[in-house]
Symmetry: C2
Subunit: 387 residues, 2 copies
């Protein structure tokens, strides 16, 4: 174990009110705690797969010992643990934060462990498993959606081809499950089953998403769009919190409440993410401005706008009938139509509503505000990013 529970956040701040500073500290600490496990897992991959994973995580500069190929069918020996003396790992923290994304899901695992009074150090593999699942779905989603940019870099399939990106995703899912299968923690088997169930739900959400994209702009209801977002985004954030609860030995009903908290916060996160995708700064999002609108994606603010029954919603539907390849010229008009049809206001209000529900669920599992502080700070952080 290359970290201690003390690394998660300074003990003196454990009861401090939730603020952005706290959340950023939790995210940095989670990345430092989870990266040694991720490096070890990815370092065990065969060279071709490893290259793709390193590109995806933005870790091309990281060197790993060659895994021992002399014993086929047996787990390669673990790579040497990352240096505990260097919590930022082989790359600087700034590079890592921008290249491999914020460690929101691992931070939720650790914060849930801590909220339920468990030892965060014991949950590092579970946190890494959740992060591997997240990244496996990103690799595959980018293939399916033909997205070309992620985290300011070309997506894996554009660099290595579609087959290799699919295979790297498959391998990351396998690594996630191997981490849990090899974890001696008594909660590991239940966590593994829960994570596998979550993967099925993530697939369901992505399937619903791609199916919706093939339908006409007036043919999608807000209800099914919300259900899709819950499966595609909420499920894994809920699972991250639930795994934290399991690793802390929480009772079933508390694990369920943590899952519900993560799901609602995840939906709030997705709503804000969609808002940022339309009105955000591309230097911060790592994606071209308005890419979702130009691709005619039916994101939550867009579907809310399309179904608002306003004059602007009819105008937006008209614009959305223009195929994606011709949409660049209309971008500014499309942005304004979504706004005038109330898409932005609805998304922000609905995000606040989901956050309120999240807090209710959390208060059931973790009644003491001080203990719930980390989870609340993270949920508020991801839904308070400037749009």
């Amino acid at each position: 174990m290359a970290h201690t529970s003390g690394a998660m956040s300074p003990p003196a701040r454990a009861g401090a009110p939730a603020d952005a500073q706290d959340a950023e500290e939790l995210l940095v600490a989670a990345r430092a705690a989870v990266d040694p496990e991720l490096h070890r897992a990815i370092g065990s991959l065969p060279a071709a797969m490893r290259r793709i994973a390193l590109h995806h995580f933005g870790w091309e500069g990281t060197s790993f010992p060659e895994p021992d190929q002399s014993a086929p069918g047996v787990s390669p020996p673990a790579a040497p643990p990352a240096q505990p003396a260097d919590p930022a790992g082989p790359l600087g923290p700034a590079v890592r934060n921008s290249s491999s994304g914020k460690a929101i899901r691992p931070a939720l695992v650790f914060a849930a462990v801590r909220a339920l009074g468990g030892r965060t150090a014991a949950a590092a593999r579970a946190a890494a498993a959740v992060e591997l699942v997240h990244n496996f779905t990103l690799l595959h989603d980018d293939v399916m959606d033909r997205d070309t940019t992620r985290r300011h870099r070309p997506t894996a399939w554009t660099v290595f081809g579609t087959p290799d990106a699919i295979l790297a995703g498959d391998a990351l899912q396998a690594l996630a499950q191997r981490l849990l299968a090899e974890d001696p923690h008594p909660a590991a088997p239940v966590a593994a089953a829960r994570l596998a169930t979550c993967v099925v739900e993530l697939c369901e959400g992505q399937q619903a998403d791609t199916a919706m994209e093939r339908r006409g702009p007036e043919d999608v209801t807000l209800e099914e769009c919300l259900a899709m977002a819950e499966a595609k985004t909420g499920a894994l954030l809920g699972c991250a919190c639930a795994l934290g609860g399991l690793y802390a030995g929480a009772a079933d009903e508390d694990v369920a409440a943590l899952d519900a908290f993560g799901r609602e916060a995840g939906l709030a996160f997705q709503l804000i993410d969609d808002v940022i995708g339309i009105w955000g700064d591309p230097r911060r999002t790592g994606k071209p401005a308005g890419a979702d609108l130009m691709a005619r994606k039916k994101s939550l603010p867009v579907v809310a706008a399309l179904t608002s029954g306003t004059p602007a919603s009819a105008e937006l539907a008209e614009l959305y009938r223009v195929p994606a390849i011709h949409a660049t010229a209309d971008l500014e008009r499309t942005v304004q139509a979504v706004e005038r049809a109330g898409g932005r206001d609805w998304a922000q209000a609905h995000a606040a509503d989901r956050m309120a529900r999240a807090v209710q669920h959390l208060s059931r599992a973790v009644p003491e505000p001080a203990a719930a502080g980390g989870l609340l700070a993270l949920a508020e952080f991801v839904t308070r990013r400037s749009a």
Copy 2:
């Protein structure tokens, strides 16, 4: 549990010499033992994923209860167990054998359990997990290779589109790991880790395969082609045998020997499969005759022929420089060039050599010929199919 260990093969025949009748009985019994687990797992999928899986397995006629969607994030309740009184499941054995493929991998799991003196009934989930992994890789391989026919039916991506076929494969990998995570058998965690390691190796093999297909016909060595086949085919057959050993409580060295047995038998299997792909009867293979040659695939007999240094190998290299789309007219000449360059003879001789090695490994793990009978019968069955 919808079967008993007695269903695997009649007790009176347990010590009978290995013959084809035995192997076919083992395959039918394995399918009957593993199908209830597969049905239950696939029945738990959301409707859209389930539809794709049912098409892939050839089980469209099978009805399943709707999974309970009221408790998101929690495993849906298990479907009612299949009727023990109907060992063939809801479809007849003839339909099932031709539609969902022979249950070679589950049969190897059960035969290994039995060879090491374990209870086969306790290994049904492990056998189903191996079969789910096999089918997840088939779904993804068909996407990557753009293959349009499997088991006499259109491949999933041609019917449901590439995204849905990728997602269905992802979901099957998750189901495989969930089966093991929920399995109370003490060997389940070690088996889960081993299966996950095997998935990484399967990905490596498929990656090597697609990379080789992009290279020129004289640019591939027989050695790397054999290494690719071991990773792509041998690894999972080895893993199936190893899991059987683990579930029987075998010692580490016996599990390793079982893995090596399965790997060598798997390579023999692949060699014969490649021979059948060129000289076999399309009514038996379920694929168009010569499809691999027309697609200019570098199968083992082809690479052996290309590297044989004979006049026919130069002719074959010349033919293989013609792109796949123009290759139909040359099919008969290509078949004959592979044969004259010794590709068929080499493949059959090398398959026999690999089988001899397999038998050596098996005799280390299972010294008594009577106990080894089932594994031997299966290995001989899959390498003795008429080509």
